[in-house]
């Protein structure tokens, strides 16, 4: 089991290095996807099916959105400059990270032995107290309800922010001259407002 986990971790590290180093944006996105799918397999091997389901589904979603976003942008790689200062400083920070990581890991409990003793109570009393057979859900929505509320708030705020930023055009003005459709524009509106655009510009990938 540990050997498989190590192989998966090495695979993930290789995937992330490729994602950073490769020239093409699309192959970089696919390498990130490889890392995510390996992570979901690792969660499944560590007997955490809840988080594995979430990880694999979110990974699919992110891959679709990222591929959709990268296909339409131009794919020029940034030229690399050999910068001595950034190389030396990243080496120093990597060394510092290794030292502190070694010190921190040294004091941790062994793998699989939790640091928080409250989790023992959750595992022992959870099904009896909440009558939810899935202990993870009973912790998320009963013992740690505040955390889930905060998580939902973060999601809500980020989506409102993304909508506000990406929309860019404001609400409808009152006079006819300033009328502009808010939200998704139809083809005739675009022609009216912004002149000609190319024909295959629609919401789908158009079979590419």
């Amino acid at each position: 089991m540990d050997l498989y986990l190590l192989i998966l971790l090495i695979f993930m590290i290789i995937g992330s290095i490729i994602a950073i180093e490769t020239k093409k944006l699309l192959s970089s996105v696919i390498s990130v996807g490889v890392v995510g799918f390996s992570l979901s397999i690792a969660f499944l091997m560590l007997k955490a099916p809840d988080i594995a389901i979430t990880q694999i589904v979110v990974e699919i979603l992110i891959l679709v959105v990222l591929i959709r976003a990268t296909i339409s942008t131009d794919n020029t790689a940034i030229e690399k400059h050999w910068d001595t200062f950034s190389f030396v400083s990243s080496l120093i920070f990597f060394g510092l990270f290794l030292v502190f990581a070694f010190l921190a890991v040294h004091d941790l409990n062994h793998f699989g032995h939790p640091l928080l003793t409250v989790s023992k109570r959750y595992l022992a009393e959870g099904p009896k107290e909440t009558h939810a057979a899935n202990i993870v859900t009973s912790i998320l929505l009963d013992y740690r309800g505040y955390d889930t509320l905060g998580e939902a708030t973060v999601l809500f705020t980020s989506i409102v922010g993304a909508f506000v930023i990406l929309r860019r055009r404001g609400r409808k003005k009152k006079s006819d001259q300033d009328m502009e459709k808010v939200g998704i524009l139809q083809d005739e509106d675009i022609k009216k407002n912004f002149g000609e655009i190319e024909g295959d510009d629609d919401g789908s990938t158009g079979g590419r």
Binding site: T54, I60, L61, A152, L155, L166
Partner: protein, 159 residues
């Protein structure tokens, strides 16, 4: 040629559309199952909501944006998002009936039954609705708004 161009503007090829037509029902049913059985089997509101959002996204990719937006418009998604958040917060506030915020005030029922565990399934459904709507909205915002915005910006830079 015009016919071909019109077909192209409405999504992917016939093969993809046929497969999506078969698969979409199963995807939505699986998402609803994951949400509803979140307190018994692995899963829950967030994972099931993402699966349901993936169902809408696959509709958008295969059939073009008109069909997907006729099922759930961007305004509708925004309203559903707000509704889910409000329902979750109201369930938490209703806990004051039992004495405290987030109190599990409904009868707990028997273990392993679908209608058990008090407010947990209700919270799961609220979170599922919220996550579905918000992730679909963010997909619309990134894939459709974004393209038009980049066009507008390019034109402004040319001028």
């Amino acid at each position: 040629m015009d016919q071909l161009a019109a077909d192209k503007s409405k999504g992917m090829t016939v093969i993809v559309k046929t497969v999506v037509r078969f698969v979409i029902g199963i995807i939505v049913m699986f998402g609803a199952y994951i949400v509803a059985y979140g307190h018994i089997t692995p899963g829950g509101g967030f994972a099931g909501g993402v699966i349901l959002a993936c169902g809408y996204i696959i509709l958008t990719l295969a059939f073009g944006r008109e069909l997907a937006l006729s099922k759930l418009s961007d305004t509708g998604a925004s309203i559903l998002d707000n509704t889910g958040a409000l329902v979750f917060a109201s369930i938490a506030l209703l806990g004051y009936i039992g004495g405290a915020f987030f109190m599990n005030f409904i009868d707990h029922g028997t273990l392993f039954h679908l209608f058990s565990a008090g407010i947990i399934p209700l919270c799961n459904v609220a979170i599922g609705i919220k996550v579905t709507a918000s992730l679909f909205a963010i997909f619309i915002a990134l894939s459709i708004f974004g393209r038009f915005i980049s066009k507008i910006v390019e034109e402004e830079e040319e001028e």
